[in-house]
Symmetry: D2
Subunit: 370 residues, 4 copies
Amino acid sequence: MTAPTETEEKELQEFYADLDKVALTPLWTITKDLLTATPRPKAKPWLWPARTYRPLAQRAVRLVPVERGGERRVLSLVNPGLAGAPYAAGTLWGAVQCLGPGETAPAHRHTPGAIRFVLEGEGVFTTVNGDACDMYPGDLVLTPSWAWHDHQGGGETGMLWFDGLDVPMVQALDAIFFEPHPLDSQPVDDRNASERTYAGRPGRFAEGALGGGPETPLAPVSSPLLVYRWADVDERLSALAEADPDAASAEIEYTNPETGTAVLPTLSCHALRVFAGRTTAPRRITGNRVYVVHEGAGHSVIDGQRFDWEKGDMFAVPSWSVAEHHADVRADMFAIGDAPVLRALGLYREAPAEQQPVTSVFTPLTGDGA
Amino acid sequence: MTAPTETEEKELQEFYADLDKVALTPLWTITKDLLTATPRPKAKPWLWPARTYRPLAQRAVRLVPVERGGERRVLSLVNPGLAGAPYAAGTLWGAVQCLGPGETAPAHRHTPGAIRFVLEGEGVFTTVNGDACDMYPGDLVLTPSWAWHDHQGGGETGMLWFDGLDVPMVQALDAIFFEPHPLDSQPVDDRNASERTYAGRPGRFAEGALGGGPETPLAPVSSPLLVYRWADVDERLSALAEADPDAASAEIEYTNPETGTAVLPTLSCHALRVFAGRTTAPRRITGNRVYVVHEGAGHSVIDGQRFDWEKGDMFAVPSWSVAEHHADVRADMFAIGDAPVLRALGLYREAPAEQQPVTSVFTPLTGDGA
Amino acid sequence: MTAPTETEEKELQEFYADLDKVALTPLWTITKDLLTATPRPKAKPWLWPARTYRPLAQRAVRLVPVERGGERRVLSLVNPGLAGAPYAAGTLWGAVQCLGPGETAPAHRHTPGAIRFVLEGEGVFTTVNGDACDMYPGDLVLTPSWAWHDHQGGGETGMLWFDGLDVPMVQALDAIFFEPHPLDSQPVDDRNASERTYAGRPGRFAEGALGGGPETPLAPVSSPLLVYRWADVDERLSALAEADPDAASAEIEYTNPETGTAVLPTLSCHALRVFAGRTTAPRRITGNRVYVVHEGAGHSVIDGQRFDWEKGDMFAVPSWSVAEHHADVRADMFAIGDAPVLRALGLYREAPAEQQPVTSVFTPLTGDGA
Amino acid sequence: MTAPTETEEKELQEFYADLDKVALTPLWTITKDLLTATPRPKAKPWLWPARTYRPLAQRAVRLVPVERGGERRVLSLVNPGLAGAPYAAGTLWGAVQCLGPGETAPAHRHTPGAIRFVLEGEGVFTTVNGDACDMYPGDLVLTPSWAWHDHQGGGETGMLWFDGLDVPMVQALDAIFFEPHPLDSQPVDDRNASERTYAGRPGRFAEGALGGGPETPLAPVSSPLLVYRWADVDERLSALAEADPDAASAEIEYTNPETGTAVLPTLSCHALRVFAGRTTAPRRITGNRVYVVHEGAGHSVIDGQRFDWEKGDMFAVPSWSVAEHHADVRADMFAIGDAPVLRALGLYREAPAEQQPVTSVFTPLTGDGA
């Protein structure tokens, strides 16, 4: 394409102005930014350290009541690439929720689906559509789309857990619905009922890495099992380690025991154990992920940037970045990802990735004020 | 919740500032805007008239070559609610594409899936993975995700067609991939091959309204049939009219002849015929839609605002708005929607809606310069 | 600059990623969009017709009380180019304010300075720092930065006026302060006191076009005269017309009678009379402007787009656009502009402009619902 | 205001929707976010360490040529509060510019005014409207609005300097103009001519803190003196220290020797010396500032957050924050601010401030990769 003459350039500028006047825009001027060779997530790789959010969670307990209005005492992870939106990555909401002793986070329901992964504390249970599910550190509790749920803290310590939600996706689809329950706490019909029914099923877990799990392309329904205990996860990871003592890591997906697919139509949950001194193979996949360090310490390298982490830290891995994880001492991580959506829409992909030189070290923002 | 004292208020403001410093944000201050009772799409109901875009498309043909670089001569519908993003609605790309006589829009592929609905002209064919598909006014042509495609204009008039894409959703999922073909035009292996194979199948169409079509919740694959001729659509609509002469309208979905589901995993396509002097029942569903008026004239009422339309006009109906359509003379409309995604993720909903009083009349922006 | 090799390109992309990680960005990739040859305002030329806003203002009076909380019953002009910001142009707030019979808009003060231009109605007065100023159609009333002000409606009809403020500039300077008065209405010390003192002064008006008025580069203080009556404006415009019967138009600036400079440090106010059948010379200046049609009918051409207007209509002219005004019947317009700021900072400019061919006609959005 | 009934609420929502349809918006729903009691800058206090930007500047020299196109090899400070805009604070551009040995940054001019403060290196001169100004570490060089300027590096080491510009303000005023010079380097008419003429003048500096300097409210013109040498600054600061040995700090403003006002109509420049072991009084003023540490080490406390700094570090202090500076060893800082604009528009303010408890410590993002 030869450069336009001055007259042509003027004509073109007038044409663009005339398009703009009637709410049209020329594609050819924006193609490059719109149709990129590979994904360019706005979210950045980022890490939120436990030593930062823990004292702030305690201040929240002291300062902010849990009541109708705000509904939940939740500190949301804000990825600085997302122009102020309260999301950990482009498609994923991540947050720390805290409930003091004897408090109740009131009952409501919403179309976004949620998972809870318990960080610390005791004595809390989450009631999901009448089934009161006890929560202990390391447990995963599901509150699927449009299920009534409230959290009650009967214990003496209160509790801290990780909240993972699909809010950004449901928001992008213009499909947010929310409804408060007429009562602060919904009636409890039974206790750990789903667990009694399904916890013995073998299909609660499947081997496989985040994104690249079971070939089943879709999770059309949410899992009927609402609680996955850490002891069971630990047992599975140990069995995998025993089966392949040379592996750098073991990974399982939490699955719907009836279908073997992801726990929610929009979110998959994984547990990854990296063995001391070893490094997982670098991976590049479509889809965003948020990791929570359950135990251990080490670092991850994401697109050449090193993120050092320890127990309780959370970090975001954006779509199509190259990521690998190294454990200094044996490390267990919990992770959520949007792979079920990508698979359902035929957009899931992987590419080969090589081990990366570290070009920079991430320094987390901290609040260790004197 | 009683109002905080001045000291408490100050402590709270300091707490919020401290959260902000470490990339955390309190949920309770944003819950109301985030978790709304019902969807609040940013996109507005909007209409782009044919009398506005047609002369601009002609200017584009005169001023802008179709070549590597911009790749396509496309005028995108810009919904003024979307802060400058070139989308017709929050989840849908809509545009007018034009190809002059003898021109070629070069071969490429991308993860966003596309449909083309021919507005006017002749002599153009679209090659999809080697199958050259002839295009005539009223035809629907599919170029599924990651399929190679180019458009070639052999005729004397050039052609104008509507482009519908899922770009905003693939973008929100951080899953855009794009690749130019090494050749400007890919090799043609066959001509209208998919049509020969599938065009006789009864499952190419299904009765039913946009969003509320077949109960099959998901279209896991794209349709192998790449072209749907208007003559066949017309025949189906006429048959429906004959079967129920009192109906206000007849509506069919274009479907995958092998599975009976939507034509793409992300988009469904519909044809709606409204009979002269009649009005469709008002509907309120989740999901965005873009309509193209193929023939006839009338108006739609969307959330109380009246949009008058005629042949060639395009308009956007945002999620959860109440919409009804009235024909002055028999009107045929083509429409795309994101319902397959909402169904796949369990987010599809309908609510009863009543006929609406008209509270305002939309005046389209026009470019009828003297 | 020769094209980089693949290795160089990869190195460059890694470098950009590393910059991004530490909150730095390369200038050379954004220079073209940042340092443009001439201004590229995001705001578009736009028109808000009186027949649209008037019935809505009446609905506002019926539906919305004027009370502490919202403070003012104001409908703000939203320029669709500004991504949802409630501004008429990049630097100017424009709005319609309405007060019903017997209502009071409570006393407050803020750093943004404001001007009021009365559209219709009677019986309202604005108290500014204790001086109660009566308002009649066509009058200009000033409420300078940080001056206490409230509006009280004693009459039987209520009133409609145009509000012009410098809010976007004060916002961009991170200098917004606001304070409610302890009383709903501040004590009235005197009535039309500033008018009695200054209204006889010859320096209340100066001949000259918007932007290109008196050479005095700066208005360091607000005018002590708070009210300018339309009768005086009319007299000046008539005198100018008599002095030059062949002129297409006459224009004066409202000025500080003590200094001869703009009425506020941030805003200048003008009155423009265009004679029947004539067209003003096209002008291109830096600075945004908002016009209010006081009497008459005609059209303006802004960057080739025609805007037809009549009594009460308001329209925005963005910086560096070419604008000319044509009267079908004698037309009087009131206008505000940001020229004092541009002059104070040495950024005011003019360029020669030629009469423009009309390439499109603006169709205003209307609400004439049945 | 009593809560509206359901019918009233519905009527109100319809009213808001109708306003939205015609590009109007109700003020009373946004007043609280718009007219805040005190300024709420979006920019955050932030620090960019020299140990982070210095190796990146070296990589830039290696990877990126300085040529027509990108024009300048500049790394811009990106304040993470500003949604991706390349600004150090809401009104201020801050950046690191680097020129390799023998390179030339081509001649151009633009309406934004700029100042350069030399960080390290030698052999570079900046030609401003024909006057070639030599640059040495610690020197301030002005390139006022619309002055032709190019930078040439004749030495063997190259140079690193801080760029301070008023780009965000000129951008917000829709008044950006840019023009490349026909030649890569403009003709040099003289060498250090402005310095010879004005350097002996006593009025080049004035005592006083940033924002609260000379009472002259406005700098209507740029300084004719284009270079201020560090030796002269050092001498003045030493004299002030001698005059008041108990002071915690000494501060001077660089001034126009002809008028005693700020060096540019939009920017003021200051030098602040804090004595070892001492802390400046906390200050709260309107206006944003960016500091560059010329020598020494210490920390600043900004709204309760501690920022540790050393030689070469840069940090942003947003409008209306409380800021104080502490030196561990004697520290010299250079700073720019937007006070001249705030003064010109009557928006400059100060408030009393108390010494603050440190509630958090800022951890800078670093790139010390292995």
